[in-house]
Structures are given as structure tokens and as C-alpha cells.
């Protein structure tokens, strides 16, 4: 318990120090943009593929479920709400933790193990500002964009199977979605994606920055990133869903 509290304290202090250097990091947009590319663009393929498959699964499963109540026409609403409010942010965050989070943690951990962070300090450069902050901000910016891509691919996948295979009327699918899914639903997804992006990226850079400078230490930091991020995403999802009810 004491160790857990100490860890929460360490993460909080790290976050405060990180936030203090973020304005300086934003004044040099180059590294931040590079990190948006590294964490965002390089995760695109897996996010698009998973979004499409999740959408296709929903097209099958929801069509079957709704047919039992004679409400196949509600497929568009059901898929839209499920994707925008829950599936999109949660699955993207879990994939993000596995793809970008591990990459961030191991990269920063290896930089520590190979003295790159120490070299920066000796060159009078704060590694928190030069290495950690751009990666943190990059992840923060990339995450909502990835969620949007996942949602679009998911809706396309649902429509592909629901309309083309399961026979739901295309006009009904889109008009129902347009009528029932509001801006507040989209807003909920955006807020969730921001919170999840914040949690996943923070844990990745924290674990990487504090990794033991050994091969085992970097491996451990990477594993911890995935586990802690995934658990945090699910806990935050429950809390935010409850708050938005």
C-alpha cells in the first residue's frame, strides 16, 4: 500500500515537472510534430485495421441482436453510439498503449541506459523538456486523431456488413444515426480520448524515464507501461461513463 502511494506521488511529481516544461517544448514545434508522426501516423495501419474489423463484428453481432427485437433499423444508432462513446476510445487506447506506449517507454529507457539522457544534462539540456515533453505532447495530440480514424473505420465496417451482408436498409442506417447520435455523444468520445491519451502517454514516458538502465529494467518498464495503462483506461472509462450518464 505504501509502495503504491509512493508511486502515485512519484507520478504526480513527475507530471508537475513535465507540465512546467511543456510550454518551452511547445515553443519548438519540430520535435512535437515528429512525435505526432511517430506515435500517431505509425499507429495508423493497426488502428485502421482494428477499427474496420471491430465495425464488421458489430455489424454482424448488432444485426443479429437487434433482429431478435425486430429493431434492425436501429443498427446505425447502436453502432454509432457504441463506437463513439465506448469502443472507439477504449480499444484505440488499449492499442495505443501496446503500440505507441511500449515504443515510447523502451525508447526513453534505452536512452537512459545508453547515457543519452545524462549526456543531455551535461550539455545543459533538460531531458524532460527535450525528450519527454515532445513525446508526451505528441501522444496527447495523436490519440484523439487516432480515435477519430478508428470511429470512421468502425462505422464503415458496420455499414459494410450490416447493410451489404445483413440486409439493413442503407437509408435507415444513416438517417437513424444522424437523428439519434448527437454532438454530446461525440464530445464524450473526444473527452475520453483525451483522458486516455493523457494516461497512456504519461505512464509510458514515466516508466521509460525511470527505467533501470539495464536490459531487464527497460523490459520491465515496457511491460509495466502496457499493464498500468490498460488498467487505467478501463477504470477511467467506467468513471467517465458514470459521469456522463
Amino acid at each position: 500500500m505504501k509502495a503504491a502511494l509512493q508511486r502515485v506521488g512519484a507520478v504526480t511529481l513527475f507530471l508537475l515537472r513535465l507540465l512546467a516544461v511543456c510550454p518551452a517544448a511547445l515553443r519548438r514545434p519540430g520535435p512535437v510534430i515528429r512525435q505526432v508522426y511517430n506515435t500517431g501516423a505509425r499507429s495508423l495501419i493497426i488502428i485502421m485495421l482494428c477499427g474496420l474489423v471491430v465495425g464488421m463484428i458489430m455489424g454482424l453481432a448488432f444485426s443479429d441482436m437487434l433482429a431478435r427485437f425486430g429493431s434492425e433499423s436501429a443498427l446505425g444508432v447502436a453502432a454509432g453510439l457504441a463506437l463513439l462513446k465506448e469502443m472507439g476510445p477504449v480499444i484505440t487506447a488499449l492499442l495505443f498503449a501496446g503500440r505507441a506506449g511500449t515504443s515510447l517507454a523502451s525508447e526513453i529507457g534505452l536512452m537512459r541506459a545508453t547515457d543519452q539522457l545524462t549526456a543531455m544534462q551535461v550539455m545543459a539540456v533538460d531531458p524532460l523538456r527535450a525528450v519527454v515533453a515532445p513525446r508526451f505532447l505528441g501522444g496527447l495530440i495523436a490519440m484523439p486523431l487516432l480515435v477519430a480514424v478508428f470511429d470512421i473505420m468502425g462505422i464503415f465496417g458496420t455499414q459494410l456488413i450490416g447493410v451489404s451482408v445483413m440486409g439493413v436498409d442503407a437509408g435507415t442506417f444513416w438517417s437513424q444515426m444522424q437523428n439519434q447520435v448527437g454532438l454530446d455523444d461525440v464530445g464524450e468520445g473526444v473527452i475520453k480520448s483525451l483522458v486516455f491519451g493523457f494516461a497512456c502517454t504519461l505512464m509510458a514516458v514515466f516508466e521509460g524515464f525511470h527505467a533501470e538502465p539495464t536490459a531487464e529494467g527497460v523490459g520491465l518498464a515496457t511491460t509495466r507501461t502496457v499493464i498500468v495503462s490498460s488498467v487505467l483506461v478501463l477504470i477511467f472509462d467506467y468513471m467517465l461513463t458514470a459521469a456522463f450518464l
Binding site: 536512452m111 545508453t114 547515457d115 543519452q116 549526456a119 543531455m120 551535461v122 550539455m123 545543459a124
Partner: protein, 278 residues
């Protein structure tokens, strides 16, 4: 060899430092004169790298003082410590190049961080430094594509790109082929000679550094056990100095880590490491 131009660049007085329960320094004293090449010698594990960390303010001594360029390193606030570090350069043992930047950007990194130079000026400056280490043609390579010796030369170009007053070398000769080794030795000498940079070379390579060092300190047992010019150290009758200069495993500096009696441990079958008892 450049004659020291007077003035102390580094003054370490009565420094005590321990890592965990292990006492690394206990009453360490040493001085580095401006414009000199000073060698810090000692076997592995005598705290040579720890000394460099003390000089650059990465760690603070438990007792004593460390003065670098007339400033007390251990009491400096962060901003002033960073300002002091800008006047120092350090060559890491493994180069410590930033792996996500190419050679050119690695050398340009400190300049981009601390100065706002127009791109053409920066380019010329970086190419000049790379030419000085013979790697102008490697500007576009990534650190992963460099050999160990090349990586160290790039790191040296990066260390001198801000024209530091003090340049610290951490084991600059380890793992180098004879050509690279000779090049680095000449380069240290030339930088010291031409630019008046004060050089601190931490090494256990007595032969290589002996030819260029103005003054040397030999660290052992947490203190500087001997000091002087290379001929003085070579002529020393002090057992620890003789042992180190001649590279002998027999002498006051223990080669073996403390252990039970060898024969007894071999015969005692039950004396296995913890957790592996039969």
C-alpha cells in the same frame, strides 16, 4: 605539451562520497590548472567516473567542496549549474550519441539548444567540427551505422562544438583500434594546444595518456594516492603507484574481490550460492 597558463579550473577539496553503503571517496583532493592536460588514473572501480559526475554537478558530495571555473558546483542553483555546464564539454565512454538524430544533427544539437544561429552558419560550424575529427563525410549517417571509434569521434565533435573551456574525457581510449587511438591522442593534444582548452582525461590507459598529460593523479582507496608528472609517477617507489604503472595484479591494490579461501571453497560442496543448495 602546453605549459599551464595559470589559475585553477578545478579544485576538489576533502570530498567524501558514498554510493549506498560503499565509500567511494574519503578526503579526495585534486587541482586542475588552466590550459593543462590532467590525467586522472586509477584501476576500474576507484570512482573515476563518479569524479566526473561530481565535476559536472550530477551528484553532490557528502562533505568537502568541488569548485569548477570558480564556482562551487554543489551549491549552485539549477539555472547556474546549467550555465556552468555550457562552459564544459564531456566525451562519454560510449559516445552517448542521440540515436534518433544523424551525425550532423547530433553535433548541431547543443548549438540548436543554446544559440539561435542562422542555418548556413550552423551548417558551416558543424562541418568544421566534423572535419576536425575526420568525419565530415559521415554527416548524414545515423549513429547505428558508425563503428565504436567513429561514434566517439562524433561525440568529440559534439563536445567541442560550443567551444568549451574545460573538456572532460571519460575513458577515451577504451576499445579503440590503434589508428583511432593515435588520432584521439593527437586530437586531445591539438585541442589543448590550439584552443587552450583545459583537458581532464579519466583513464586507466597509462601508456597513451602518459605522453600528453602535463600532470596526473592516481586514485585508489577513495583518495589521490599519488600525483605528479608522468616521469615522476614512473620513478615513484610507492608500491601502489608501481603496481598500477607496471600493470601488476600483485600489490596493495587488490585484484581479487574479497572471497573465502579458494581451496576450502572448492572442497566444500555445500557452499553454493543462496537458493541453489542441494
Amino acid at each position: 605539451m602546453t605549459a599551464p597558463q595559470g589559475g585553477k579550473v578545478v579544485e576538489v577539496r576533502g570530498v567524501r562520497y558514498s554510493a549506498g553503503s560503499r565509500l567511494i571517496f574519503d578526503g579526495l583532493d585534486l587541482t586542475v590548472e588552466r590550459g593543462s592536460i590532467t590525467a586522472i588514473l586509477g584501476p576500474s572501480g576507484t570512482g573515476k567516473t563518479t569524479l566526473l559526475r561530481l565535476l559536472t554537478g550530477q551528484i553532490r558530495p557528502e562533505a568537502g567542496s568541488v569548485r569548477v571555473l570558480d564556482q562551487e558546483v554543489e551549491t549552485l542553483p539549477r539555472r547556474e549549474l546549467f550555465a556552468l555546464r555550457r562552459r564544459m564539454g564531456m566525451l562519454f565512454q560510449n559516445g552517448a550519441l542521440l540515436t534518433d538524430l544523424n551525425v550532423f544533427e547530433n553535433v548541431a544539437f547543443p548549438v540548436r539548444e543554446h544559440a539561435r544561429l542562422p542555418e548556413p552558419v550552423l551548417r558551416r560550424l558543424v562541418l568544421m567540427k566534423l572535419e576536425a575529427v575526420g568525419l565530415r563525410g559521415a554527416a548524414e549517417l545515423m549513429p547505428q551505422e558508425l563503428s565504436g571509434g567513429m561514434a566517439r569521434r562524433v561525440a568529440l565533435a559534439r563536445a567541442i562544438v560550443m567551444d568549451p573551456e574545460v573538456l572532460i574525457y571519460d575513458e577515451p581510449f577504451v576499445g579503440l583500434d590503434p589508428v583511432s587511438m593515435g588520432f584521439i591522442v593527437r586530437l586531445i593534444h591539438r585541442l589543448n594546444d590550439a584552443l587552450g582548452i583545459t583537458s581532464i582525461v579519466v583513464t586507466h590507459d597509462v601508456q597513451e595518456v602518459g605522453g600528453i598529460a602535463d600532470y596526473s593523479y592516481l586514485l585508489a582507496g577513495g583518495r589521490a594516492v599519488a600525483q605528479g608528472t608522468t616521469p615522476q609517477l614512473q620513478a615513484s617507489q610507492e608500491p601502489a603507484v608501481r603496481q598500477f604503472m607496471q600493470g601488476s595484479s600483485e600489490g596493495p591494490v587488490a585484484f581479487h574481490y574479497p572471497a573465502p579461501v579458494y581451496a576450502q571453497q572448492l572442497l566444500d560442496a555445500t557452499d553454493l550460492p543462496a537458493g541453489r543448495k542441494p
